[in-house]
Structure formats: structure tokens, C-alpha cells
Amino acid sequence: MSQQEQVAGRLQQSLPVLATLALGLWIAYASFSVDDPQPYLFPQLISVAMILLSVSALVRAIRGANRTGVGIPLDLLLRIAPGIAVMLAYVLVLAPQLGFYTGSAVGFLTLYSLYDPKPHLSIRTWAMRIAVTVGFMLVIYLVFALALQVQTPRGLFL
């Protein structure tokens, strides 16, 4: 491994630990700066533990002694990014706007189609994808709407 790769690796390992350190410092600030400390006694303990552990992990990351986890290489990030985008769109936009069941069907079909290795231009492939989506959503509807009687939020559709 080259010097440059080692530095990049150490930097990457430091990022999540810096995030937990920042979180620990924020919790400490929020817990120690209140007028009535009683409800914040336990968070105070947690913040101290988080700061100490984060500093320890950060020192190890900088020294290159943190060898757990594979990190997130760019090619991996590019492969999972469309999937994460679909998840976010499904939860934040599709389900609230279109309705729980319609949004879920669109989310299911989009995620499935994006990662399905079969050719996108084949009618048979799309017929299969739509059939699987409809079948799955039918089961979900039977279980949640009819059996468990869960009331789901409606949007434009069901």
C-alpha cells in the first residue's frame, strides 16, 4: 500500500470518529449548560464516555492502528447510491405524496428494476417485474390492511 493510500485510509477512518466526537461534544454542551441538571445527569455521563472513546478511536485512526471495516471505496458508493436515492425518495416523497401502498409499489418496482440484471428493453422482463411487484403488494395489503387493520396515510392514491 502506497503512502498516499495509507493517508487516505487513515483520513477515511477518522471521519466517522470525528462525527461521534462532535456528537459527544454537542451532548456535553447541551447537558452541562442547562439550569436544572437533574434530567441531564445520565446524558452527562454518556457525553463524557463518548468524548473519551471518540478521542481514543481518533488517535488510533490517525496512527493507522484502526483496522476494522473496509471503508467505502468510490466504486462501491456509486453502486449503492441509486438504491439509497430510491429509499430516500420512497420514504420522503413517494409514500407521503402518492399514498402508502402506491408509493410502496413504485418504490419496490424502481429498486427491483434498478438492480435487476435482466435487460431493461425486454417486454418480458417488465411484465415479470410488474407481476412480482403487484403480487408482493397484494400480500402486503392483505396482511397489513385486512389482517392487522393498520390505517395507513393516504396521498393522491391509496
Binding site: 434530567p39 454518556i46 483496522r67 471495516g69 473496509v70 429509499m87 420512497y90 440484471p117
Partner: protein, 503 residues
């Protein structure tokens, strides 16, 4: 023999239907590569919300035991363990299947799972009340240290890095503090409208265990994955029974190792299976044949990982300390039904506790019957393409998180926690300590506050929390769990080259 009086609720029509459904579903879910038992149980919890506590716990217990056994199906037929607990099973099981003995391997596997499972549950039945009786004298300081012990044990033993494991546990404890303080009703750490109701345990469980696995399924991109499934030839079940029962040595080793590993919080089925397999190989005259399709290897691995299930629930039911990540999820399931496991469990909820334990025993018989007959069907389930699985689990996760409180905020919190956990897991953080922090946080805080009130009326905080034989014993266990893991980590590190990010 109190447990014998509580078999009635297990043998009702509804209970048996739930147990059968949980067992069949668990076997199929366990057989599916990419679906861990922990995630399967986490996804099932929202369904139990609409059931009585007894029925809900029966479903979770049946699914837990069956997913561990079901993981062996893909281990044998595909050489892809359905769960880490089945790694050792794949070694000889798949070699047998490749020789055209797939049915024999599966039958031996389920019979061994049954033997190990029953022994494990018997240990649970006889050990749990004894330990619970002993723990009845625990006060707030002891319960505080037990909650901390739960986090440190899982944090240090279930993670590749002790510091990161403990850090994840601390983050989990903080997540549990979000919302309104239970004593004074003070608003704490609410920085988004979605957090006003706090972080619900079920949303956290589903998000932390299911979402990272969904993304992992997508990591390969649009790859056409072809599984080579070996054909399963018919084989006599009676002959399989005879053969398994003749492997007494491997079954005893597997059961003993499984029980011991199960009782150690945080150790898990993977360790049980591998240690038992290794010991059986050493003591067997056919040790040199292990790995080439020796049925003794399957017996040792499967008795061990199933014997681990019952004992892993002993610390959970008596002390609220889960023995494995799946037991941590079960703890969440108990809490949402208003059942607080611990020293008082067998006094306050004896009927629920015994019915649950007895259903685990009955579940072993169902697992044997269904396992022997649906293993062939499961071979088709394991072929479900990852994009369908990932999409299906995503929709189930969203519906599951929503259905518990009919709150869309739970869905947003679930996805946020899941995405965060995926990225953290790539840097060596494990979800189990984080989940345990979320679950045990309120228990630790309420006992800390109660202890503080008692301490202020007595000799002070230090005397109350840091003196007394039991406090010192528990603090010793906390320290020992961390020190042991640090030493293990240093040993492993010495064997590795110094790099920034590695596999």
C-alpha cells in the same frame, strides 16, 4: 417442575397455528442468504404488536429457533451459510450434498438441531428460575451496573474493535435519551419534529438491522448471481435418525459447547458451531475426513448452534442482559409487550414467561418435523434474486416501523438510523451494541436516578454505586469484559500489517 403447569396455553389452536407459522417462516427466512436471524426476528416484531404477549413471544421464539436451523439449508445446498451460526455446517454439509447426499445431510442436520435445541431449552428451563431467585435481591445500583454490563459485553465481544463497540453502545444510550425525560417530562435533544416522541425501540431495531442488510444486497450492482444448487436425492429418515444417534460423541461435544457458549453473553452461535466442530474433529477417529463430507462434522456444528439458543436467553430473562444480538431483539419484543425481563419476571409474569419457554420446547419438535419435510422447498426460496429480496425487505421495514404506533416519524427515524448504521458498519461499528444501548438506556437511567436518590439519603454516590460485594462483582465483570476484548484485539492486531483501512 413448575414449567409443566404452563403447557396449557401452548397447546391451544391459536398457539399451535402461530408456532407452525413461525417455524415454517423461520426455516424459509433462515434458508435465504442475506437474511440473518436477527433481522428476521426484528421484522416480525411489529406483527406481534397486534397479538397477546404470550402469542407474540411464541412467534418470535419459534422464528428465532427456526431461522438458526434454517440457515443450515443454504449452507448445505449452496455452501452459503444462512447465518454466521451455520458456517461450520457448510464445511461437511455441502461436501455431502456434492456427493449426492444432500437429503442425508439435511436430515442429519435437522435431527442434530433438534437434539441440541432440546438440550439447550432444558438448560433454560432449569437454570433460569434459579438465577432469577438469586437476582431478586438486586437494588437500583446493581440493575444500573447490569445494564452497563449488557452494553459493554456486547460492545466489546460482538465488535471487531472494542473502542468502536463501546462507542456504538454510548451512541445507543444517547439515542434512548431523545424525547421527553420520563421523570420530570423535560424535553431532551429534540432537534427534529420526527423526534418528539423519542426513538421507538422497534423503529431502531428494524432500521439498524434491516436497512444495512438491504444496502449490502445492492452492493454487487446489476450482477446476475447464479447459485449452483445441488440436486437433493431421496433418503430414508429412519436411517438418518440411526446415523445421527450413532454419532454420540459429536452430539455431546456440540451440546456441551453450545450450552457453555450460549451462557456467555455476546459469544453467539458462530463461535459455538466452529468451536464444537473443531473439538469434534480432534476427538474423532475420522478427524482427517472432516471437511470432505463427514456427517459427524454436521452433527457437531448443528447440535452446538442450536444448543446455544436456549442458554443465550438465560441472562436475558433473569438479568435483562441479552446473550446475542438476536436475544437483544427479543428483549425489544418483550419490552413492547410491557414485560420487563429481570429478577421479578417469574413473580410478575410467570404465566407469560413459562408459556414462552415451553413454546420454545414445542417449537423444537415442530422444527424437526417441518425441517425434514420442507428442506426441499426451501431450496427454491434461496434462489430469490437479491433485488427482489432487498425491495421486499424495504417495503416490509417501512410498513413494520409504521404499524407499531401509526406514526410516519417512526419510518423516517428508522431509515435515518439504518442509513447511518450502514456507513458506520463500513468502518467497523456494529449494530448490536447500538441497539442494546437504545434498549438498556432507559433501564440504566431510571436505576441511576433511583440510586442517586437513595445515595443522597444515605452515604453518598460513591458508597452506593461502588461498594458492596455485588456492585464490585458486577463492576469487575464490566472491566473484565473490556480487558479481555482489548487483549484479544491486541493479539489479533499483532498478526496483521499496519494499514489505514483494511478488510
Amino acid at each position: 417442575m413448575e414449567f409443566l403447569q404452563h403447557f396449557g396455553p401452548v397447546f391451544t389452536l391459536t398457539s399451535m397455528a402461530i408456532l407452525c407459522g413461525g417455524t415454517i417462516g423461520g426455516l424459509l427466512l433462515g434458508a435465504t442468504p442475506g437474511l440473518s436471524p436477527t433481522m428476521a426476528v426484528a421484522l416480525l416484531i411489529p406483527f406481534t404488536f397486534h397479538m397477546t404477549p404470550v402469542h407474540g413471544l411464541m412467534l418470535l421464539g419459534a422464528a428465532y429457533t427456526a431461522t438458526v436451523a434454517g440457515g443450515a439449508i443454504s449452507a448445505i445446498l449452496l455452501k452459503i451459510p444462512g447465518a454466521p451460526a451455520n458456517i461450520a455446517t457448510a464445511l461437511d454439509g455441502n461436501a455431502m450434498a456434492k456427493k449426492g447426499e444432500g437429503a442425508r445431510a439435511l436430515q442429519i442436520c435437522f435431527i442434530s438441531s433438534f437434539i441440541g435445541g432440546v438440550i439447550g431449552i432444558l438448560v433454560l428451563i432449569f437454570l433460569t428460575p434459579v438465577l432469577a431467585q438469586w437476582a431478586l435481591g438486586f437494588g437500583p445500583s446493581h440493575m444500573f451496573w447490569i445494564a452497563i454490563l449488557g452494553v459493554t459485553i456486547i460492545g466489546s465481544l460482538d465488535s471487531k474493535s472494542v473502542v468502536k463497540g463501546l462507542l456504538a453502545g454510548a451512541v445507543g444510550l444517547w439515542i434512548a435519551m431523545i424525547g421527553y425525560d420520563s421523570i420530570q417530562g423535560v424535553e431532551r435533544f429534540i432537534f427534529s419534529e420526527h423526534l418528539e416522541g423519542g426513538v421507538h425501540i422497534i423503529a431502531a431495531l428494524i432500521g439498524l438491522f434491516a436497512i444495512p442488510q438491504i444496502i449490502e444486497m445492492l452492493e454487487g450492482g446489476r450482477i446476475n448471481r447464479q447459485y449452483e444448487i445441488v440436486k437433493v436425492q431421496p433418503h430414508s429418515i429412519v436411517a438418518a435418525f440411526r446415523e445421527t444417534l450413532s454419532k454420540t460423541r459429536a452430539a455431546i461435544i456440540g451440546s456441551v459447547v453450545g450450552v457453555i457458549v450460549g451462557l456467555i453473553p455476546g459469544a453467539g452461535g458462530q463461535i459455538a458451531g466452529l468451536v464444537s466442530y473443531d473439538q469434534a474433529r480432534r476427538f474423532s477417529p475420522n478427524g482427517d475426513k472432516f471437511g470432505t463430507g463427514e456427517s459427524e462434522g454436521v452433527v457437531a456444528a448443528e447440535t452446538a448452534n442450536n444448543a446455544m439458543v436456549g442458554p443465550s436467553l438465560v441472562p436475558l430473562l433473569t438479568l435483562s442482559v441479552p446473550g446475542s444480538p438476536t436475544a437483544a431483539v427479543l428483549l425489544g419484543g418483550l419490552l413492547i409487550h410491557g414485560i420487563f425481563p429481570g429478577p421479578n419476571l417469574f413473580e410478575k409474569h410467570a404465566d407469560v414467561a413459562w408459556a414462552f419457554i415451553n413454546s420454545l420446547l414445542v417449537g423444537q419438535f415442530l422444527m424437526l418435523v417441518f425441517g425434514l419435510y420442507i428442506a426441499g422447498l426451501a431450496a427454491h426460496v434461496v434462489r430469490i434474486p437479491p433485488p427482489i429480496l432487498a425491495s421486499g425487505i424495504l417495503v416490509l421495514s417501512v410498513f413494520g416501523a409504521y404499524s407499531v404506533q401509526s406514526s410516519y416519524s417512526d419510518v423516517v427515524v428508522m431509515l435515518t438510523l439504518g442509513l447511518g448504521m450502514y456507513f458506520l458498519s463500513k468502518y467497523g461499528f456494529s449494530p448490536a451494541p447500538l441497539v442494546l444501548g437504545v434498549i438498556l438506556g432507559p433501564i440504566a437511567e431510571s436505576n441511576y436516578v433511583q440510586g442517586q436518590i437513595i445515595a443522597e439519603a444515605g452515604d453518598g454516590m460513591f458508597a452506593y454505586f461502588f461498594t458492596g460485594a455485588l456492585n464490585l462483582f458486577l463492576i469487575g465483570l464490566v472491566v473484565a469484559s473490556i480487558v479481555y476484548s482489548v487483549i484479544s484485539e491486541i493479539r489479533i492486531r499483532r498478526l496483521q500489517p499496519r494499514v489505514g483501512v483494511s478488510s
